[in-house]
């Protein structure tokens, strides 16, 4: 496992190479990026095989720590170090695989765009940063890569920067995550202040040994979690993610669904032992996750932009992962299982949405419809992803959702369980609705429909591969299948906190979760397919205010805009006035004015008559002598 550093090193080298030489290469060097992603993926398997070598059921792999000191000032050192354990391995598998699929897909999707080579350059930088992030053994390196993936996200959301909305969305994403990142940085500084090191394992050990007081521990945990909320777009810092869909669709799949946005989940999972010790921290995680998952499911109900609906489903999923983490117990296993399968079906959903967008140049579902005749494979794959997202048996999403529901029921009781179940049902409604609006019914825009066609093999192959994983990915929970793959057991026996967990069907639970999902899906069919959506319109007419609130996403954006307009600009006005009136006019200019005035008056003393100067000397000597005499006399 010591060779794990090679995995991020490959895309980093690709980035450096392409940064300088992409324009000298044929096809602007896109193949370098794809080959780099492929190489990372291959190396990952060597690391995995190495990690699995000789471990048996219920045993954790021995984490490998590798690295060197980068900078050192007395007792303060910045280390570049890699820590490989089960959590890192699960993340590595997701990142390397989805990165490879997206690189491949982008060859078709981005063909002929401006700055084609630059796109792949940034994609490689992103992959390198994300892989370092999941391997980092200390908070500072993690923070550096955390910001690096943020800047890649900024650059890729704003990739079509000629379009104003894309530039605005990039800015919004950057500024919003910045809010969380600032809290994260303060948390890191607090942790360093308390423990004296950035090392994550040392921090966790100190927390578990009770070396940090409860107050500090809560402060550190919550501040770091606010960073996670920013990166993982949790309420109320979720506003950037739907807008981030302005970026190219493969980017949405890679960064804003499968990898970067789950960095917050990863970090919370990484520090989970600390969160468990800190009072209130887990409850806070649970509540934030719950609010986000229900909020996004509600908002997703009436959106019509395909990519945005999928983005809201991402919010929904991220919220669920935090619910699982916040629940405690086997929550880590459930959350990471969901993260693992979510990466595949969400990437699939995005890539299918991209396929539609690529073929029709439309992304508003109200202008589409009936596309299954023109794009049957895309329709099936999108449907597969949607069903997995809804949690329909036996797709991968089902197993993960079932685990989460079981954990919530065991650890937190029926009230929370009920709320999560509501969110599951709502997910079924909106994800089925967007599939119906896009692929079923009659075409609403004949022109777009006529031009629709199935995408080329470069785009379809990654989609099919992801589709297969969506279909079978959830089966990793079973011990038999895990053992076939070389693991000691199923997912729960590979990644766990204290004791391994064997997956088993709890039929009441399965009934509840599948029932809720199917209920949602059937409601979507009932309201939006039968009678071409007239029933949905009728319901909406009954509750116009409710519909308005949902369409406008609970007016969160408007509230923030008002906050910026009145509170922030008002405060900025006060500061600006202070700067102008006090600092500039009185301070800086004041000094100059004073000097000029004094010179203006004093210049008359410079007569040029030598006896006058002699007189001043005499007067000065007399004064000094007097002072000397008086003080000495005392």
């Amino acid at each position: 496992m010591e060779e794990a550093w090679i995995i991020p090193a490959i895309p980093a080298a690709v980035f450096a190479f392409m940064f300088f030489f992409r324009n000298l290469l044929p096809r602007q060097g896109d193949f370098v990026s794809v080959l780099g992603a492929l190489a990372s993926f291959v190396v990952f398997f060597f690391v995995l095989a190495d990690a699995l070598d000789g471990i048996s059921l219920g045993e954790k792999i021995r984490p490998a720590v590798e690295g060197f000191t980068w900078l050192e000032f007395s007792d303060f050192e910045i280390r570049i170090g890699f820590y490989v354990d089960e959590l890192a391995i699960v993340m590595l598998s997701v990142v390397t695989f989805v990165a490879l699929m997206v690189n491949f897909y982008s060859l078709g999707y981005m063909k002929g765009e401006n700055h084609y080579g630059w796109y792949f350059t940034i994609l490689s930088l992103f992959v390198a940063s994300m892989l370092t992030l999941v391997l980092a053994d200390n908070l500072l390196l993690l923070y550096i890569t955390w910001e690096l993936v943020g800047i890649c996200s900024f650059l890729l959301i704003g990739f079509f920067f000629e379009r104003r909305s894309a530039a605005e969305a990039a800015k919004k994403a950057f500024v919003t995550t910045r809010v969380g990142d600032t809290a994260f940085l303060i948390g890191i500084i607090f942790a360093f202040y308390q423990v004296g090191t950035f090392d994550i394992q040392t921090l966790i050990e100190a927390a578990e040994a009770g070396e940090i007081s409860d107050g500090w521990l809560t402060a550190i945990s919550l501040l770091i979690f606010v960073g996670c909320m920013g990166k993982s777009a949790q309420f109320p810092l979720h506003v950037w993610l739907p807008d981030a869909m302005e970026g190219p669709t493969p980017v949405s799949a890679l960064i804003h669904a499968a990898t970067m946005v789950v960095a917050g989940v990863y970090l919370t999972a990484r520090l989970l032992p600390m969160f468990e010790v800190a009072p209130y921290a887990l409850d806070f995680v649970l509540i934030v996750g719950l609010i986000t998952t229900i909020f996004s499911a509600l908002v997703g109900l009436l959106q019509t932009d395909i990519k945005r609906v999928v983005a809201y489903s991402t919010l929904n999923s991220l919220g669920l992962m935090f619910v699982a983490l916040g629940a405690g117990g086997h929550g880590l296993t459930a959350a990471l299982l969901y993260l693992f399968v979510h990466a595949f079906f969400k990437a699939l959903l995005f890539l299918s949405a991209g396929s539609v967008l690529h073929a029709t140049d439309r992304q508003d579902a109200l202008e589409l419809g009936g596309l299954w005749r023109k794009m049957p494979l895309t329709a099936i794959l999108f449907g597969l992803g949607a069903a997995a997202m809804a949690g329909v048996f036996p797709l991968s999403g089902f197993f993960a959702k079932d685990e989460i529901l079981a954990v919530v029921l065991d650890e937190r009781g029926p009230v929370y369980f009920g709320l999560v179940l509501v969110s599951v049902a709502l997910t079924g409604v909106y994800i089925a609705r967007i599939w119906i609006l896009t692929f079923l019914g009659k075409p609403r825009d004949q022109h777009a429909y006529d031009h629709a066609h199935e995408s080329g093999p470069l785009m379809m192959i990654p989609m099919v591969l992801l589709g297969i994983l969506t279909l079978v990915g959830g089966l990793v929970v079973f011990s038999d299948i895990g053992q076939e793959l070389g693991f000691p057991g199923g997912f729960g026996q590979f990644l766990f906190v204290e004791e391994p967990e064997d997956f088993h069907f709890d039929w009441a639970l399965v009934g509840a979760s599948v029932g809720a999902a199917l209920l949602g899906v059937l409601m979507a069919f009932y309201f939006w397919l039968v009678g071409s959506g007239r029933r949905a319109a009728t319901v909406e007419a009954l509750m116009p205010e409710m519909a308005l609130i949902l369409r406008r996403k609970f007016f969160i954006d408007e509230v923030y805009q008002a906050g910026i307009n009145y509170v922030m600009l008002g405060a900025a006005g006060v500061v600006s006035w202070f700067d102008r009136a006090v600092v500039n006019d009185t301070g800086v200019n004041g000094a100059g004015v004073l000097a000029r005035f004094a010179g203006d008056r004093l210049k008359y003393q410079q007569t040029g008559v030598v006896p006058n100067y002699a007189l001043y000397i005499v007067v000065g000597v007399v004064v000094l002598a007097t002072i000397a005499v008086v003080t000495v006399a005392r």
Binding site: G608, V610, P611, A614, V618
Partner: protein, 102 residues
Amino acid sequence: MIPLEHFLVLSGILFSTGIYGVLSRRNAVLILMSVELMLAAVSINMTAFAVYISPDLFTGIIFAVFVIVVAAAEVALGLAIIVRVFRQRASANVDEVASLKW
């Protein structure tokens, strides 16, 4: 014996008179004379201190002799310059000798 203070007061009066002369006179000869007064005051001071404070040493008196020598040389040189200036300008007023000022 005359107390030391009397010498000091005399020397103070002489020095002040000298300063007044230097500051207020315009005639170069008078300024030179005032400077001589100030030097004389200093010489008196030194001689008085020498006698009253360290009678065994002659440092102060020797210093006074030096001052007299320097003053004589200075007056000789100064008067020579003043004579040259007077020859040129028909005036010994220091304010008029300003051609080196800009």
